[in-house]
């Protein structure tokens, strides 16, 4: 039950922060609210006993991607205060799309799981849980069951890296 309460609080914080990301009139504030959203998502991973994924979420999204966002914003428009011209005509379309997505996802969740309950982990020891879902288990899965997708993603990332360097060095 405490998990549900924690989930409720985190979900509420994430939703409010996400709303602020799109409604605030300051680009830097928007990026900082996005930090809150991503951090709460990381906390949700911890609730799911996926500590490794949570740490990846923090390291990659907050430590790298958002820092790069902020770096870019501050380098190009270093003014404090509200920015004009942040809104455009597509906001209603975006709202409708967002609601539609919410509906589809809710439907899929209810349709797929219905009244199903997750297995009770009350009696499971932490060691057993770690052996089954810990970092070592994730590593094993990546390099055995999911080896081909992993390699494909690696090549994709490498291609993106090379592409970025080619674009940057065009001069």
């Amino acid at each position: 039950m405490p998990e549900n309460i924690a989930f409720g609080i985190l979900a509420l914080v994430a939703t409010l922060a996400a709303l602020r990301v799109v409604t605030t009139r300051n680009v830097v504030h928007a990026a900082l609210y996005l930090v809150v959203v991503l951090a709460t998502v990381g906390a949700l991973y911890v609730l799911l006993a996926a500590e490794f994924v949570a740490a990846v979420q923090i390291l990659i999204y907050i430590g790298a991607i958002l820092v790069l966002f902020l770096f870019g914003i501050m380098l190009t428009r270093p003014t404090i205060g509200t920015d004009t011209g942040l809104d455009n005509d597509q906001r209603w379309i975006a709202g409708v799309t967002g609601l539609f997505l919410l509906g589809v996802l809710s439907f899929v969740l209810v349709d797929a799981f219905g009244d199903e309950q997750l297995p009770d982990l009350g009696g499971v020891s932490r060691e057993a849980l770690t052996a089954e879902r810990g970092t070592a288990a994730v590593g094993d899965a990546i390099f055995s069951t999911y080896l081909v997708p992993f390699e494909v993603v690696s090549v994709l990332l490498l291609a993106a890296l090379v592409g970025a360097i080619v674009l940057a060095r065009r001069d």
């Binding site: 490794f52 740490a55 923090i58 430590g63 790298a64 820092v67 902020l70 501050m74 404090i80 970092t135």
Partner: protein, 345 residues
Amino acid sequence: MELTLAIELAYWQQLTVKVLAVLIIVPTATAIIVQTFLFKVMAHMQSRLGPMEAGPHGALQLMADGAKFVQKEVLAPARADRRVFVLAPVVVLLSTFLLFVVIPAGPSGVAEDLDIGIFFALAVSSISVLGVLMAGWASANKYALIGGLRAAGQLIAYELPLVLAVVGVVIQAGTLSLQGIVRAQAEGEIFGFGLLGLPFVFTQFIGFALFLIATQAELTQPPFDMPVAESELVAGYQVEYSGLQFLYFYLGEFGAAFAFSALAATMFLGGWWVPGLDLDGGLLSNLIGPAVLFAKTMAVAFLIFWIRFTYPRLREDQLQTFAWKYLIPLSLLNILATGVFKVVF
């Protein structure tokens, strides 16, 4: 905790004890680092006396400085973005506090022995960049902004060798858990001679050097102190901060210096373990472990601060070239070599 104290505590009681322990350890560690290295070692290396008036040999100087900072008025520039300005030092401090959570100082002397140990430490240490950027931007000051941007560029560049230097250790130990890394070193053997264990500094000396250099840059200390270069940027992103808020940055920086030294001591020098200590618990290990870790940490910190006090500042382009063209390829080679050795032996 149950093992050392032999009493059962409820979950929330354990949590309170752990939080309090971390809250006490961080300022204490910071005070020790600043008093020892910044005030005295630095002064003696530069043929000065350093602070001498407060207490015997200036031992109480930090108390005086702390009291001074607390008294000072907390100011913010008129055009600053107040909320972000106030939050920035808190974010930096949060990152430092979280670092201490996973560092083991004995078989049960660890706030939380996470399965992902060292990876968690690296992840939370990356949060401090965010605080630095927030401080630089919210100050509404061009020097602060340039300092913040320099810091961000530098921290991103040196984050990579920092993480990659650790990978060698992780491959050799076969675990991310810091407790597991200590165990792997204690149970290791040097050519069949197992009495001393195998501190990874012998096999991962490249990793150790890379980790120390990257740490130096992560702490924005000389010779990597372009973000706070006082001759051109006043004090970079810290320029508008005063009083307690400045103290937060100070705590964050030197607390992180202690934490990184402790991490290096744990990963490369065998952590809290010395020959003769029981790995699986016991009162003796839990009492001596913290002292051993502290001694090793201070040794590493001495190295870090020695470099800080003796080398001149690198230029911004030299700094970036050094990271991307030398440190990162070297760390990748180190991983490759470690992988080959791991498979062959």
